[in-house]
Each structure stands twice: as structure tokens, then as C-alpha cells.
Amino acid sequence: MDPMNYIVLAAVLFTIGAVGVLVRRNAIIVFMCVELMLNACNLAFVAFARMHGGIEGQVIAFFVMVVAAAEVVVGLAIIMQIFRTRRSASVDDASLLKN
């Protein structure tokens, strides 16, 4: 098996995540799809690290995980806050600045 198959899988996962971000309207599911895209990138990083025999890919994947964790904490807090004030987790309902 060619090791580039991992990269193809990562591209497929990234695309599925992007489709979810574009299609879904529940903010939490949109967030999960963003996580999916980040994870696809991590898979590509790890596969490249093995392909080229360097550790840098794994180090960068590690940093991506840290940033993703911080992003989830703040993002979910924002979703909670919006839900408290507007009683909805849909991204379509948060249109206060429109018009």
C-alpha cells in the first residue's frame, strides 16, 4: 500500500468536515465538523512525519491538538452564552446585526 493513501483519507475527512460546516445549522455540530477538519490535518501531519522520518509533523500535530482544545473550550462557552440569551443553538437565529 502506498503511504499516500493516508493523505487521501485525510483529504476525504477534511472534505466531509467542510461539508458539515457548510450544511449544518446546529452550532455544536458545526463545531464538531471543525474538529473533524483539524483531525484530518493531524492525520496528514503524522503520516508525513513517518514518510520523511522526522518528528516535526508529530510536534505540529501536538500543537494543533492544544489549539483545538482551547478553541473548543471558548467556542462552547460562547454557544452556551448565545443559547442562554436566545434559547437556540442554531447559527441562523443569531442574526441580530442583520438589517
Binding site: 500500500m1 502506498d2 503511504p3 499516500m4 493513501n5 493516508y6 483519507l9 483529504a11 476525504v12 475527512l13 472534505t15 466531509i16 468536515g17 467542510a18 461539508v19 458539515g20 457548510l22 450544511v23 445549522r25 446546529n26 455544536i28 455540530i29 463545531f31 464538531m32 465538523c33 474538529e35 473533524l36 483531525n39 493531524n42 492525520l43 503524522v46 503520516a47 512525519a49 513517518r50 514518510m51 520523511h52 522520518g53 522526522g54 518528528i55 516535526e56 508529530q58 510536534v59 501536538f62 500543537f63 491538538m65 492544544v66 489549539v67 482544545a69 482551547a70 478553541e71 473548543v72 473550550v73 471558548v74 462552547l76 462557552a77 452556551m80 452564552q81 443559547f83 442562554r84 443553538a89
Partner: protein, 305 residues
């Protein structure tokens, strides 16, 4: 075919047959679970599918000689991030399933077109590249004394600025989450003294009958029976009673009608002259951040009576 030259000519970690099988089996699982994340209607199903994706990716990291990242993936993602997702889902409301009606016309079609435009060139581009056998990390791991010492050396020495910035980022995220999740209490906290006084002054000083007393089962949805065999409405959980009557299968037939008739209509409450609205203690309402104005349904939603 483009052949990318690698740093060392001798491949040290050829891709074995077992890895090929594992890739195709697990890759199918990952793609199906990712599609499940996107296309399942209920958010909880999405979260569980996400767990499948995360754990499968952790196995992929293990195959790709990244044992540290495998453990971190399971601990951080499936352990912390996904549990946080589920926690917020429970707070926001599990039952609310997304409506699948398009609000923007042609959004799905455009999304499909964009996805294909992204995926097809990328995948064809990637598959034209052959890199040969991967170099593998065995030599570097042996030189550094292990996978974790190698990563630690890179993180501490070469990427130390990024590492420090990560620390600043984490502290900022914690502070931001604290500020965003904090709510000011809009009504005074009811102390134990206040609750006991309210109970004594109310018309039902004794504890309410528990569910299932003198009945055949003691589950929370079974009402207690009075000495004459009739059903005591006081024993029913108001949250369960407020649900759709068809949902409560174990509640007797005449009881469902009573619940539907509204508060004060039951045989027991008619006898004792009390409705359940009085003195409903507010254990969960303020913690969940419900604001002051939403009526007695919120204050009534206590499971502890």
C-alpha cells in the same frame, strides 16, 4: 508519475500487508462515522459518531509510529473535548433535532459542488505522487532514546517560543471560558432555613409520597398508591407528568387523563387541597442559568422532591 525524492534512499519501515488491511477496514469505519457526524439528525448521535472517528484516528496514529499522539488523541479528544461536547449538548437540550429544511436556496447543491471541486483535484493530485516506502522513525527514535524524548526535545528546544505561546493561549482560554460561562444570580439563593419555613407554612409539611409506594414497581414513573388503591398524583414527578402522555407507558390509563387535566385535577390533590406548584424548590434552575422570568415550569422542574 512524479517521484518525490526522500532524504534517505533506504526505506527502513515498509508498509506491511497487515497495515494495508487495517487501513482499509479502519478507513471505511472512519469515513462512514464522519458521514454520520454530518448527516445524523440528532446532535448526540453526531457526538457519538465523532467518538468513533477520534478513536479510529488514534489507531491510525499508532500505526504511523506516533504512540504519544495516539494516547494524547484518546485522552484529549475522546476524553476531554468530546465529553465537553456531550455536556454542552445536555445543557442546550438533547431533544432538539435539527430541522433539515434548507434556509438558503441551493445551499446543499452548492456545497456538494464545492466539496467535489475540492476533493477530486486534491485526491487525483495526491494519488499521482508516489513516495515509495516511508522512511520511518525508527532511526530517530533510537537516537533520541524514544518517541516521547524526541518530541520533548523538539518542543522544549526548537519550538520553545510556540510552546510558551501555547501556555499563554491555554490560560487565556480558561479565563475566557470562565468569563463567558459565568452568570450573575438574578434572584437570591434560597437557604435551607427559607425552604423549611416555606414547607412548614405551606399546606404539605410532611414529605411527599415517593414514587411507587405500595405499587408493584418503584421506578420514578410509577405513581404511589393511596390506601384505597387509587393513584396519588403527589408522588408523580412533575417533569415526567408534563411529558406527552403516550410516553408514560407504565402510568395507569386513568392517571394519564388526570395529568392531562392539569394541576389540581387529581383525586389526591383534590383531597389534600394542594397543587404541586407551591413551594417547588429551585435546585436546578439557577445552576442551569435559567433567567428569572420564565414561569413556574422551570422552578417546578425539580427531581429531588
Amino acid at each position: 508519475m512524479i517521484t518525490v525524492p526522500l532524504q534517505t534512499a533506504v526505506p527502513s519501515a515498509p508498509v506491511g500487508g497487515g497495515e494495508t488491511v487495517a487501513f482499509y477496514v479502519l478507513g471505511t469505519v472512519v469515513v462512514l462515522a464522519a458521514l454520520g457526524v454530518v448527516f445524523s439528525r440528532k446532535a448526540v448521535y453526531s457526538a457519538l459518531m465523532m467518538a468513533v472517528v477520534m478513536i479510529s484516528l488514534a489507531v491510525f496514529y499508532g500505526i504511523n509510529e506516533a504512540p504519544f499522539l495516539m494516547v494524547v488523541q484518546i485522552v484529549v479528544y475522546t476524553g476531554a473535548v468530546l465529553m465537553l461536547f456531550l455536556f454542552v449538548l445536555m445543557l442546550v437540550g438533547v431533544g432538539s433535532s435539527d430541522s433539515l429544511v434548507e434556509t438558503i436556496r441551493g445551499q446543499r447543491l452548492l456545497t456538494a459542488v464545492i466539496a467535489l471541486c475540492f476533493l477530486v483535484p486534491l485526491a487525483t493530485g495526491i494519488t499521482t505522487v508516489t513516495v515509495g516506502e516511508p522512511v520511518g522513525l525508527a532511526a530517530g527514535v533510537a537516537a533520541a532514546g524514544g518517541n516521547i524524548p524526541w518530541i520533548a526535545g523538539e518542543v522544549i528546544y526548537r519550538y520553545v517560543i510556540a510552546f510558551e505561546a501555547t501556555g499563554a493561549l491555554l490560560i487565556t482560554a480558561v479565563l475566557g471560558a470562565l468569563v463567558l460561562a459565568h452568570t450573575v444570580r438574578t434572584k437570591k439563593k434560597r437557604t435551607q432555613r427559607h425552604l423549611s419555613q416555606e414547607r412548614i407554612r405551606g399546606d404539605h409539611a410532611t414529605p411527599l409520597p415517593g414514587p411507587g409506594t405500595y405499587a408493584r414497581h418503584n421506578s420514578i414513573d410509577m405513581p404511589a398508591l393511596l390506601p384505597d388503591g387509587s393513584v396519588s398524583e403527589l408522588s408523580l414527578n412533575p417533569v415526567l407528568a408534563a411529558r406527552v402522555p403516550e410516553d408514560q407507558r407504565s402510568v395507569p390509563e386513568d392517571m394519564r387523563r388526570v395529568i392531562g387535566a392539569g394541576p389540581g385535577g387529581g383525586p389526591d390533590s383534590a383531597r389534600s387541597g394542594e397543587t404541586r406548584d407551591k413551594g417547588g424548590d429551585d435546585t436546578g434552575g439557577s445552576a442551569a442559568g435559567s433567567d428569572n422570568g420564565n414561569g413556574e415550569r422551570e422552578g417546578e422542574g425539580s427531581w429531588t422532591r
